[in-house]
Amino acid sequence: MSASSAANAMLGLSIREVSQALRDGRVSATELCKKCINQIQRTHYLNAYITITEEMAMEQAQRADNRLRTGKPLGPLDGIPFSVKDNFCTDNIKTTCASNMLKGYVPPFNATVVQKLLDQGAVLVGKTNLDEFAMGSGSADGVFGPVRNPWSYATQYREQSKEDPDSDWAITGGSSGGSAAAVASLSSFLALGSDTGGSTRNPGSLCGVVALKPSYGLLSRHGLIPLVNSMDVPGIMTRSVHDAATVLRILQGRDERDSTTVQAPDTPPSLPEHFDIRDICVGIPKEYHAPGLSKDILAQWSRVADMFEQAGARVQEVSLPHTQHSIVCYHVLCCCEVASNMARFDGLEYGHRSAVDSSTDAMYATTRHEGFNNVVRRRILSGNYFLLKSNYERYFVKAQQTRRLITEDFKTIFRSGIDVLLTPTTLSDAARYSDFIQEDNRTRSAQEDVFTQPVNMAGLPAVTVPTALSPRGLPIGLQLIGQTLQDWKLLTVAHWIEKQLNFPLVCFHEDSNKRELDHSVRERTHTVGL
């Protein structure tokens, strides 16, 4: 066994397994942390991390070891390395949103979800890359450059490719691409993403990890730098459904700092091992046979539906007639909230400030021009247009009405006895970066979010589970959608699928790990900013 595969053996474990290894003393938290940091360095070319918090992580791991040694771990996450999308505030650690606007910004507080993980003894190894302010579906539109899909550096993909690994690679999806890549490339056991229109599930699916978008309000958004407040949810990325459930149990619940949070329903300590799938009714929304759906995805969708049927679950076609309007409706609502949320970035209190100081207005204008990329600026412009007094009824109000109809569609279906919906997560497996950048961000987002976005409109829980590898060697995931606040039931079903499928871990092509450290990445990897 080579050194790297030995590391893989430990890093490839699930949280449940590695937590047991920590308790058993088979590995220490500091060793584990160091292994993750090394793995980050080894896979630096993925560009998954913006900031690596090595120093702080090692200190946290040391404290975890002290607890583990005395047999008093704080819980199932004590000593477990994790990473966080760089749009969650982290106390005294740079939080950039992959934007010039917040380059070097150091928040004075932790997001509630980050704090909860730290309180459990989890070890923060780094902040992960994303699309600027989470606006995108490729993780290709951030100021720190695109994130590369780990699976495009795995043996199968590389053996098919005739090109250089630096020119032929696949995107991770987004906007939480860095988090997905971190979990998939085994440098984090758990990563937090955010999900507004699919930003956790999309990259989760394309990178072959479990990605949960909980019910709206179940997890606190305090400290999550917002995209669309009424749709944003912190997302959970792990390599097993069981792990996602463990993390959900820790993160869920009312937070006095976020008035939109709700009391979590009673949750058992872990997912049931024995569960009768015959009690479940699975809905297959016919509208999700969308144009552009690849045959590989369709094949997996059918395969899993059949699997349910053969195991005795009821599988039934259902209709969500208003889903087709989701894209345009989302576009309006998203732009409006973006225009509003981004108004605070004026260069006065924090973040980038332009050198132009001829007048306050000139300072605002140039600060915002220099600070935001085209994608952000376009959404701000559109949003302000939609919110103009003369346009408000025509756009915002209409979009809200449509949103209610989309929500009603789901409610009707669940009232009819459906427990979960089974749908694709994405139209196809991950696109090659060079193909992906042919289209502009808006078109891509509109295409990519088609299966994921209606869920955010309705505030429902959804999870993507990796199902298989495509012929290109890239992951395919399927999405399960549940009823509001029935996240646990959703995960129970997802757990059942997972057990039937046996999705593999990434195995890097041997050339991939011998690549030289990219200097631009290295420069960013210090612990604390300012």
Binding site: E337, A339, F396
Partner: protein
């Protein structure tokens, strides 16, 4: 939000240097306290100079928009403290500085204040109200928007009843009312401090996020005097409720006046908005000036522009404000981070699963409503038999009613006798020196002592007035000390009095003859002489008896 403000405090300071100079910008004119606003008659003649025969006279139409800072320990959506004159940026939480990722958490105390205020004006309290974002860029509004209640405010349809004094002597009480369209909760902004010398602007966010109640009144008033009386009554009500301290000079109460003119029966004229008003008296002046100005514009064939004008207290004029951004489109949008605000009728109507201690219950607040100024005035009239106009003075003057009631309690005299002392001597002296009741050198106890001395015949009432002035000058001395030092005790010894009277009779033989001739009126002259001789230390009734006896 419980987060400490220290992190932000440091951060802001690293961006912005505060010179000591900026402190001076905080100095306010505390001497400017309004007293008898109902007597401040309109300085301007509200009559057009040229009258057209066929048309009715033009009249002013005034509506007010009032921002009342909610009296609460913490801000509307954050846990930072509310305080006036604290060091700049010392009361700023992460949310107040709009750090990304922070969320608003509604302060229940502020909601209760708004509901209590709504109840005091007989408003309909909306069981469900909503918050909205109002967008505009301004340096002292860090989020780029203000959270307010545009669509569905917490209270609507109320009435403010106020009284004016009319008649030549301003002693006829006329009661009027104005409709309160709505009361909405919203955030205050920070303050921009412009340092012209170094051509920079300093931002103080201490005020940013403090809770405001915006009260919108229907345009139902006609002149500055009415508006002044209405605002004064509003101030008193808010102060009685404890929902706003109401000090205009400190910005706790900010009034913008919408002014237009038209001929009765015709549509409303184009209105202007007058801002920068920092006292009730200035408001009355500003409104009357603006009405007069608009009338003159129209009469000279011009048109009134829909604009914002600032009141210049030095010239007493209103001047157009530099129009910064032209017409603003505030791009209102529902605030997505705050669920609808529910208030409940009674404990019983609080839904199951909701902790009734954590929600706002109307019944509970109704029970807390204190005695409002109008009720207080009626009580004063009924309990003490004071005149209605005196009841206004007692209630409207901060602390005067308590002063009056304390004096009444400590004396056996009729309250109507106390009122004279309070209205004339006390208020006269206070007004002369521009002091508040709380700054009176004479305590209620000292005044009661003085009144008691008159009542028991130890000093005469004319002497008492003299003693009052001495007490004012030397508050450290007791009444007794002053009377003794200046030898002002009443001469009650019959023999002594007779001697003095005899002296006067002897000195005025001519007058004595006239009196004996039947003209009794001249007796008054002799009584005056006795008073002068004794420096007012005699009882006129006694003196009269003695004189009559001597002369007859």
């Amino acid at each position: 939000m419980a987060a400490s403000s220290s992190g932000y405090y440091k951060m802001l300071f690293s961006l912005r240097k505060y010179t000591n100079k900026s402190q001076s910008l905080y100095l306010i004119d505390t001497n400017f306290v309004i007293r008898t606003i109902w007597t401040s008659g309109s300085k301007y003649q509200l009559k057009p100079k040229v009258q057209t025969k066929s048309l009715p006279q033009m009249v002013g139409v005034v509506g007010l928009e009032i921002h009342a800072q909610i009296q609460s320990t913490s801000k509307l959506f954050s846990g930072s403290h509310v305080g006036f004159l604290a060091p700049p940026n010392s009361l700023v939480s992460h949310f107040d500085a709009s750090l990304p990722g922070t969320l608003p958490v509604l302060n229940r105390r502020c909601v209760e204040a708004a509901v209590l205020t709504g109840l005091a004006f007989n408003c309909t309290i909306n069981r469900k109200s909503l918050f909205d974002r109002k967008h505009y860029f301004y340096a002292d509004m860090p989020a780029g928007y203000q959270i307010t209640q545009q669509r569905l405010p917490i209270a609507v349809d109320g009435t403010l009843v106020y009284s004016l004094f009319e008649g030549r002597r301003k002693n006829q009480v006329v009661t009027k009312s104005v409709k309160i369209k709505q009361i909405q909760l919203e955030q205050d902004s920070g303050k921009s401090l412009h340092d012209n010398e170094q051509s920079q602007t300093l931002i103080d966010l201490n005020r940013a996020g403090v809770g405001l109640m915006e009260l919108v009144m229907e345009p139902e008033m006609c002149c500055g005097e009415e508006a002044a009386a209405a605002v004064r009554e509003l101030q008193l009500i808010l102060q009685a409720l404890g929902t706003c301290q109401g000090n205009m000079a400190e910005g706790q109460l900010r009034v913008d006046a919408n002014v237009s003119v038209h001929r009765p029966g015709e549509p409303m004229g184009v209105r202007t908005e007058v801002k920068n008003i920092n006292s009730v008296r200035h408001m009355a002046k500003a409104i009357d000036y603006e009405i007069q100005r608009q009338m003159e514009v129209l009469q000279s064939g011009g048109t009134v522009l829909n604009e914002t004008r600032a009141f210049d207290s030095k010239s007493g004029n209103t001047i157009p404000m530099r129009d910064k951004e032209g017409l603003q489109d505030y791009r209102f949008m529902p605030e997505p981070n705050l669920p609808p605000l529910f208030v409940y009728e009674s404990e019983a109507s609080v839904p199951a699963g909701v902790d009734s201690a954590q929600v706002v219950v109307i019944d509970r607040l109704s029970a807390q409503l204190p005695e409002l100024p109008s009720v207080r005035r009626t009580r004063l009239v009924e309990t003490y038999g004071v005149l209605r106009e005196h009841s206004f003075m007692l209630v409207n003057e901060d602390g005067l009613m308590d002063y009056f009631e304390s004096v009444v309690q400590m004396t056996k005299v009729e309250p109507r006798k106390v009122i004279g002392w309070v209205m004339n001597e006390l208020m006269g002296n206070l007004n002369l020196q521009n002091r508040k009741v709380s700054q009176s050198p004479i305590s209620p106890c000292a005044l009661a002592e003085l009144i008691n001395l008159v009542e028991s015949g130890h000093i005469s009432s004319s002497t008492a007035k003299q003693v009052f002035q001495e007490m004012w000058k030397a508050p450290e001395k007791t009444v007794g000390q002053i009377v003794k030092e200046q030898d002002l005790w009443m001469i009650n010894d019959k023999e002594e009095l007779r001697k003095i009277c005899q002296k006067i009779v002897d000195r005025h033989t001519e007058e004595v003859q006239i009196i004996r001739g039947g003209n009794k009126k001249v007796l008054n002259k002799l009584m005056g002489e006795v008073q002068r001789e004794t420096k007012g230390r005699t009882d006129p009734v006694q003196v009269k008896d003695i004189l009559e006896e001597m002369i007859s």
